[in-house]
Symmetry: C2
Subunit: 240 residues, 2 copies
DNA sequence: AAGTGGTCTAGACCACGCC
DNA sequence: GCGTGGTCTAGACCACTTT
């Protein structure tokens, strides 16, 4: 409608998009089956799927396993620089968040990780993998790497809880600096499998480096998000 | 290879991906024609294009007009919170940036914009549209809205230059706060056309609200980026 | 067992860029 | 005018989910 784009897939995209945005389909409700939509819009299945893919990229619909297409719930607003727990954030926005610890290992830092964490080649780090969901829908897989030197007795902590609270209350890290990067990416195994998306699906990668008051890296963190699940936010004061 | 994914498109994707990452294809070099790649990998054109689309989502290749597929140049690192000019940023990273002013208009703020900028319904704002390129490749289209009340004589300024410098030197705004949001999006006309991407291509949307020392919104800014052109960065100090 | 999306083929025609 | 990618069709079979 607003587009002067006269292709078949664009027409289908606009039609479904309007149905969603005018509230005819509620959050997490399924669309009709692909073959039914084909007939409804009189297009072939590949054209229909091109339209659905664009709606997926727009963050309006998502797929679940092989069971169908569903209307996306609203996005989570997330502020990675502020050291407030993911759980508090999500709850404040009316979501029900959960965290599942997938694995904990002590590993030797490889070349890449050593560079990222400014370690020498012989260091070992504790690697955490966690999966976080809102309202039962997994939205991010995160890998956290702790510099062992700064986290004695880490294995005794409950690592499915807030890392921030642990940093503050148990390890007394109060003054920290963060360095964050955000970029578009593709999700593959194993992240794709855990998030319930297709291999090669669109994602958002958020990396975070945490330094203590002395400038040493105490933690490195990589979050792989469903692209349709979040808006990254940041508040800052600046002197020009 | 690292994937246990045995689909044809995945094999093609991995093969091309390795060629690029092992440096057999340089930045901005074209791939072979789609029909040639089909023959080379013994797959149909739609399978081949599925592989190419994923490589595009991974930020490894991009398309230019209808002329072919090319290897992506490295990404620009960009820190929207820091009030350093885009041009300085790009130059420091070895790029050649350019800015083109597309339009300047005084408009009445509609409902949406009034809400975003906390204006009453009768306010007028100055709307700027600019297109920014690095090394000749357009990477973002931005809309900037100035609250007129804080920018007397704006029409006399050169609006293709740094807005930051203008804020500081001409309008003497020194203490500011920013509020930024970043999310995945789809690019449509007119942004898609200006960026030389297909309608419905993947993008990254960066929105910024600028407030003066009194907390009033003086500027609102929406940047639509090619998804493969940037890594958003942020540095912050925090007290827990 | 039936229904769903996921993968894949072998064509076709078109709009546009480039020569 | 030829070659490119962009759109589109009408099938097919498979893996998985749901009933």
């Amino acid at each position: 409608m607003s587009d002067n784009n006269s292709f078949a897939y664009a027409a289908v995209r606009e039609a479904i998009s309007e149905q969603i945005q005018h509230g005819k389909l509620a959050e997490n409700q399924p669309l009709a089956a692909e073959r039914d939509l084909c007939e409804q819009f009189q297009v072939s299945r590949s054209t229909l799927r091109q339209a659905l893919s664009q709606l997926e990229n727009m963050g309006l619909i998502y797929r679940k396993n092989r069971s169908g297409w569903y209307v996306c719930p609203r996005k989570l607003r997330y502020e990675p620089t502020r050291h407030v727990s993911f759980l508090d954030y999500a709850v404040a926005q009316g979501f029900t968040p959960t965290t599942r610890l997938l694995s904990v290992q002590k590993i030797k830092a490889g070349a890449k990780l050593s560079q990222l964490m400014e370690l020498d080649g012989r260091s070992t780090v504790t690697a955490l993998t966690r999966l976080r969901a809102v309202d039962g829908r997994p939205v991010l897989m995160e890998q956290i790497y702790f510099n062992q030197r700064h986290f004695p007795g880490l294995e005794k902590q409950d690592l499915s809880l807030s890392i921030n609270a642990m940093l503050k209350n148990h390890y007394h890290h109060h003054a920290l600096s963060t360095q964050i990067s955000i970029e578009s990416c593709c999700l593959f195994t194993p992240a794709a499998a855990h998030l319930g998306v297709n291999d090669g699906a669109l994602g958002l990668k958020v990396q975070r480096t945490l330094r203590n008051a002395e400038g040493e890296i105490i933690e490195f963190d990589e979050e792989l998000w469903r692209h349709d699940a979040l808006v990254v936010e940041n508040h800052a004061h600046i002197q020009m």
